[in-house]
């Protein structure tokens, strides 16, 4: 399967730590799940390592739908990472 470009979006302190609201990336083909993407992103630099240092506090959405870390990312156009939500 060819690796595809995907838009990553970051919110709240994930956004602040990475220093970006969104970016376009093409993860390597061996990155198959949300959790694997988090691990791969953590190796991209200090700011990513800081943002994802406690993966258990990172929530994710694929194409605007909440997903678990085990969810495959194949076919995703947008993957968002953010802390537990505090709306309402």
């Amino acid at each position: 399967m060819d690796a595809a470009a995907v838009k990553l979006s970051y919110f709240a302190w994930v956004r602040e730590r990475i220093g970006l609201a969104s970016e376009q990336i093409t993860p390597p083909a061996e990155v198959r799940t949300v959790g694997e993407l988090i691990a791969w992103l953590s190796g991209r630099g200090e700011e990513y390592a800081y943002a994802f240092e406690r993966p258990q506090f990172i929530r994710a959405a694929i194409d605007r739908v909440h997903v678990k870390h085990e969810t495959p990312i194949a076919g995703a156009r947008e993957i968002a990472f953010f802390p537990p939500m505090t709306g309402g």
Binding site: W13, A61, M85, T86
Partner: protein
């Protein structure tokens, strides 16, 4: 069927509730919930609410559809504000209308529990002394409140 609005400006809870029942004589119960920004003993100057545009509307629509599946609702309104909100100002409004009071109460409570933990909004505190108070932590109590609705 639910009316969902994500907006920076304040809302008029009464006008929203009135719109739900205007011209109807089959609505027996209307419940409104208004969530407001508290001053936290005057240590808080404001909350800055960040949201995920697009997903916020879609996720709230999914939760509202679930409420309409579970309870016989005649109308649902959800309004959630984003941006800077000061103590005493409104943050969120939920209105439910039903022919029966239990349905209106339970659906409104369900919607609030889900909004707290599932709607993509994040609160940052702006302290009265001008400093950033940091991001509000998610509460375990809110997760537990949501879990009680699991089928």
């Amino acid at each position: 069927m639910a009316t969902i609005r994500i907006q920076a400006e304040d809302f008029d809870a009464a006008a929203a509730a009135a719109a739900l029942t205007a011209g109807r004589n089959d609505v027996g119960a209307v419940v409104t919930f208004t969530g407001r920004c508290r001053s936290e003993d005057n240590t808080l100057a404001a909350l800055e609410l960040e949201h995920y545009p697009g997903m916020a509307e879609e996720e709230i629509a999914r939760v509202a559809a679930e409420a309409e599946r579970r309870w016989p609702l005649q109308g649902t309104i959800i309004i959630h504000r984003y941006g800077r909100i000061r103590p005493g100002e409104n943050i969120v409004l939920v209105v439910t209308a039903s022919s029966h009071r239990e349905a209106a109460f339970e659906a409104a409570s369900f919607l609030m529990d889900y909004l707290k933990t599932q709607a993509p909004f994040w609160k940052k505190e702006i302290r009265a002394d001008g400093s950033e108070g940091g991001w509000v932590d998610a509460k375990e109590a809110d997760d537990q409140a949501m879990e009680k609705w699991a089928k």
